[in-house]
């Protein structure tokens, strides 16, 4: 065993600086919180619990801007996941989490354990996980390293979710060179529960048992949380041991055992929490902190995979598939037996104590004795300077092109842009149907699952467009929320709540902190306008590679409720002769668009702001139209604008479209927000236009030919949809297989 530094040596040699704790924080802990020098183990606990990943010390003040209240909110931020009331004594539970840094270093395990972690957050609340979504952002598919990252991340996600028997139903995959060295892997899990089964991560009741269940603790993932809170550089390869290794079979057993415990034996259980980031220390001290309890743990009792683990290693390990329970005195044996029936180990490792101390024993020595709150509540919030980036100060006026371009050529090229092209190559490696509730799987605006034995359905989506947030964090933040809401509305769902992953660069850079601040401001404004609370989420900072930050990329995960499932509410055209309407006004919005990227190779310009109130009113009307069954297909217009949306609606159907629009050629590809392409059967057009009024413009008909006929103010085009679909489907497989 390595000899640990003494408290005095720690003070002089400052190893905590490498663990992410600043000198100011260390001195504050010594002088104000402990009034003594912390020992090696204690210093390690502070370093990990005071990391941004666990404490949100830099983002907390900004996160308070999000609305988190609402009539449906049963549990807001602060627990494993947020919970919303969906009627009939049922609730939906969801959360998203980033696993960007582990995935950059060891993509397969990084992605797999990201999925594993978010699933545990859901079942720790007492809910059955019913769906997974993933928001993935990679570099351009032009180098072997990028292809390797993509293949391994996709395989890690698929293997974990498939083995767990939880369908992966949606998400998004985009590509941009800013993510080349630091891909974004954000996983979201949605669960369903009876409200009576709600659990909390609390340890209370003096003498109650603290029970460890699941896999043994090894040396994997030590300092994962602090690792996630520091910049990447090329020496990242040496940090491989900070990545955990997943075992989905173990997690499947753990999930079934925990669900049996929470659903059938609530009288035994006080609280339950996942051992996620910062492993045993964070789960145990958070459980004690939330209940204002004390806790005493015997580390010799913690099941260990390797010999001679130090207290520091045991407490900081991020070995996967572990949960911590607080169980009433007298029921320890029953709990052990329940887990034994699943082939799992459950061990009493400590007790809830009076007072408020967090005490750890190892080999008969007291190795930690500090106030619980010093790890959780007393973290110094960090004030960070901020500054508007130069590019935003000097941004030009909105971009408009006057130059003529070849509509036909651009159309086919656009469908092959990786961000737009079919992702089937990846999504068909995910089991999207297991548990047989999937009404709409990958590839639509939102995924839809039915709720058995009700008429209800849940729609869900993830959306994040880093390019737009980069050009204007505030408008881009609003757009991220609007896009997610529009996707749900297109599926006939009322948006209920949001979980987010806020992916940014190093917040000590004043420009990056400004981006964080202003994008949150924009997101919060949209949440308020649309009355959608943020009920859970996470913050992932330091997404940089060799000091090059990613685009600021907030991911919005949104879940909506469908009161009466409408199987026809998908993007696909259903019937020749249906009338086609374009909803919303089209302007010249090219800054950050796919068209700009395609034509110029980069993005620039100023985003046009938009009126949240009128967009909110429009979404409301659209939702009513879909709910009343007036529409045969609805597709939200996003990347690539009208032309791409029209093509996507026709793909995988036997139909085409004949459209005549009073737009310029380039406006076919404009990305003005708040627009939909809708088809309406002839007998329902009167009801539809009455409802939508001047927002709806009749632009054409669904045809029985596989052609997209487009008439603009300046031209007339016949686009072959069979060829278009082939190009759209083959673009990514082709790039992934190419030699360079």
């Amino acid at each position: 065993m390595v000899t640990e530094m003494t408290p005095e040596e720690i003070k002089i040699k400052k190893p905590y600086l490498n663990w992410g704790l600043s000198e100011k924080e260390y001195n504050y802990i010594c002088q104000k919180l402990l009034k003594r020098l912390p020992n090696y183990t204690e210093t390690g606990l502070f370093a990990v619990m005071w990391s941004e990943h666990c404490s949100y010390k830099m983002s907390k003040a900004l996160l308070r801007k999000f609305p988190s209240q609402g009539v449906r909110v049963l549990q807001g931020p602060g627990e494993g996941a947020g919970i919303l009331d969906i009627g009939d004594n049922q609730a939906v539970v969801f959360k998203a989490e980033s696993h960007n840094h582990p995935s950059a270093v060891e993509p397969y395990q990084g992605a797999a354990t990201g999925v594993g972690g978010i699933i545990r957050d859901i079942f720790s609340m007492g809910a059955r996980p019913i769906a997974l979504l993933d928001s993935l952002h990679f570099g351009e598919i032009n180098r072997p390293r990028i292809k390797y990252l993509i293949n391994e991340v996709v395989a890690g996600i698929g293997d974990y979710g498939n083995c767990m028997g939880i369908p992966t139903v949606g998400g998004e995959i985009t590509f941009d060179s800013c993510y080349a060295g630091n891909p974004l892997v954000n996983a979201m899990c949605v669960g369903l529960m009876d409200q009576n089964d709600m659990q909390k991560g609390r340890a209370q009741g003096i003498g109650n048992a603290v029970i460890y269940v699941g896999a043994k603790t090894g040396r994997d993932g030590i300092h994962g949380a602090t690792f996630a809170s520091a910049d990447f550089a090329d020496e990242r390869e040496t940090q491989r041991s900070a990545v955990q290794v997943g075992d989905p079979f173990m997690e499947k057993l753990l999930m079934e055992a925990c669900l049996e415990l929470t659903h059938q034996h609530q009288d035994w259980l006080v609280g339950i929490q996942d051992m996620g980031a910062a492993g045993l220390v964070s789960s145990s001290c958070e459980m004690a902190s939330k209940a204002q309890s004390g806790m005493e743990l015997q580390l010799d009792l913690v099941p260990q995979r390797e010999p001679n683990m130090s207290a520091y290693e045991i407490m900081l390990s991020e070995s996967q598939e572990r949960m911590l329970l607080c169980v009433k005195t007298g029921f320890e044996e029953e709990v052990k037996q329940l887990f034994k029936d699943y082939g799992l180990e459950a061990v009493v490792i400590g007790r809830v104590t009076s007072g408020h101390q967090y005490i750890l024993w190892q080999h008969g020595q007291k190795v930690t004795d500090i106030p619980v709150s010093s790890l959780t509540e007393d973290v110094l919030e960090e004030q960070v300077p901020e500054k508007q980036p130069q590019r935003i100060q000097t941004a030009q006026e909105p971009i408009t092109w006057l130059a003529q371009f070849d509509v036909e050529h651009v159309f086919y090229q656009m469908l092959q842009q990786p961000t737009i092209a079919s992702k089937k190559m990846f999504t068909q490696t995910y089991d999207s149907q297991v548990r047989t509730n999937t009404v709409v799987g990958p590839g639509s605006d939102a995924a839809v699952l039915r709720i058995r034995r009700t008429k209800k359905g849940l729609a869900m989506t993830t959306d994040g467009n880093g390019r737009l947030v980069y050009l204007d964090p505030e408008v881009g933040g609003k757009l991220a929320v609007l896009e997610a809401a529009a996707n749900l509305v297109a599926s006939g769902a009322e948006p209920l709540g949001i979980t987010d992953c806020l992916n940014y660069g190093d917040p000590h850079d004043p420009e990056i902190y400004w981006e964080l601040h202003h994008s949150i401001k924009g997101m919060a404004a949209a949440c308020r306008a649309l009355k959608i609370p943020v009920i859970s989420g996470n913050v992932s900072l330091y997404n940089e590679n060799n000091h090059q930050a990613i685009y600021p990329t907030p991911m919005v995960g949104m879940v909506g409720l469908i009161q009466n499932l409408q199987p026809r509410a998908t993007i696909a055209l259903k019937n020749a002769g249906d009338q086609v309407y374009l909803i919303g006004t089209t302007k010249d919005d090219y800054a950050g668009s796919e068209l700009q990227k395609l034509l110029t190779g980069s993005i620039s310009g100023k985003l046009q702001d938009f009126d949240l109130a009128s967009v909110t009113a429009l979404l409301k009307k659209m939702l009513t139209a879909v709910q009343r069954g007036l529409t045969n297909s609805v597709h939200d217009l996003s990347e690539g604008g009208l032309a791409v949306a029209a093509a996507e609606s026709a793909f995988a159907t036997q139909f085409g479209l004949r459209l005549e629009v009073d737009l310029s050629d380039q406006q076919l590809f404009s990305e003005t927000p708040g627009r939909f392409l809708v088809t309406v059967p002839a007998e329902k057009t009167a009801g539809f236009t009455d409802l939508l009024g001047s927002n709806a413009q009749l632009v054409g008909q669904v045809t029985a030919q596989k052609t997209l006929e487009l008439k603009t103010l300046t031209g007339c085009y016949q686009l072959d949809l069979l060829q278009a679909e082939k190009l759209w489907e083959e673009a990514i497989p082709c790039l992934m297989k190419s030699k360079d």
Binding site: G165, P248, Q428
Partner: protein
């Protein structure tokens, strides 16, 4: 008719079979743990899809030594219906109740999609409500579904009409003779990689699997068996 849905550690399509039988077909079904050792009172046994024992070692290789397996073998030997889909099919081949083996897909990847199938034999208790040579569509979701057997076994399967479902259009995993599902010689044990239990409700977009369950639940199979 009462159907046992066997649950192994890591089974995850057990609920799909159970709901197809009970809420869709209004039949009686019960979950039976791999730790049980008898199947008395049941008229049919179904082995669900999933990842029994995490597919560690080899798909189905550990599950086939479960405590329940001798009872399943006795059940099959008594001529009663045994059905396995996906991982259930893999377990049946590992247990020797069906010939051949399921190898890793040609693509080396998990694949979840709907594929075309031809009903090659409608003279079984599982397929009597389909037309002979009828083409249907069913979902697949597996990484190890490439059917393999030696030439003699394949010849015997074909000669005895034991190939019940064959992939048409595209062979999604590299199965020999495009085999998607086979019975034993007697016709009372069916294993198939596609998931009929995922195709029993119009709401979910496909009902082509429904007649497989109805075929079994209607009974009247004596003439159908060789």
């Amino acid at each position: 008719m009462k159907v046992a849905v066997v649950v192994f550690p890591g089974s995850n399509c057990d609920i799909d079979l159970y709901e197809a039988l009970t809420s869709v077909c209004q039949a009686q079904a019960e979950y039976v743990s791999y730790q049980q050792d008898n199947l008395s009172g049941f008229d049919a046994v179904m082995l669900p899809g999933g990842f029994s024992y995490g597919d560690y070692l080899r798909c189905g290789a550990i599950a086939c030594f479960s405590k329940i397996m001798p009872a399943i073998k006795a059940f099959a030997e008594a001529g009663k219906p045994v059905f396995g889909t996906c991982n259930g099919f893999q377990i049946l081949t590992e247990a020797g109740l069906l010939p051949g083996a399921l190898k890793r897909n040609d693509s080396l990847k998990f694949v979840c999609k709907t594929v075309g199938l031809k009903v090659e034999n409608n003279q079984t208790i599982f397929t009597q409500l389909y037309q002979q040579a009828e083409q249907i569509k069913l979902p697949i979701a597996h990484a190890d579904g490439s059917y393999y057997a030696d030439q003699a076994t394949l010849a015997e399967l074909e000669a005895n009409h034991q190939v019940v479902f064959r992939y048409v259009g595209e062979n999604p995993n590299g199965s020999l003779h495009e085999i998607a599902g086979i019975t034993n010689r007697r016709g009372n044990v069916l294993g198939m990689m596609p998931h009929p239990e995922r195709a029993v409700e119009a709401l979910l977009g496909n009902t082509d699997g429904l007649r497989l369950f109805k075929s079994l639940l209607t009974g009247n199979l004596k003439e159908a068996i060789n």
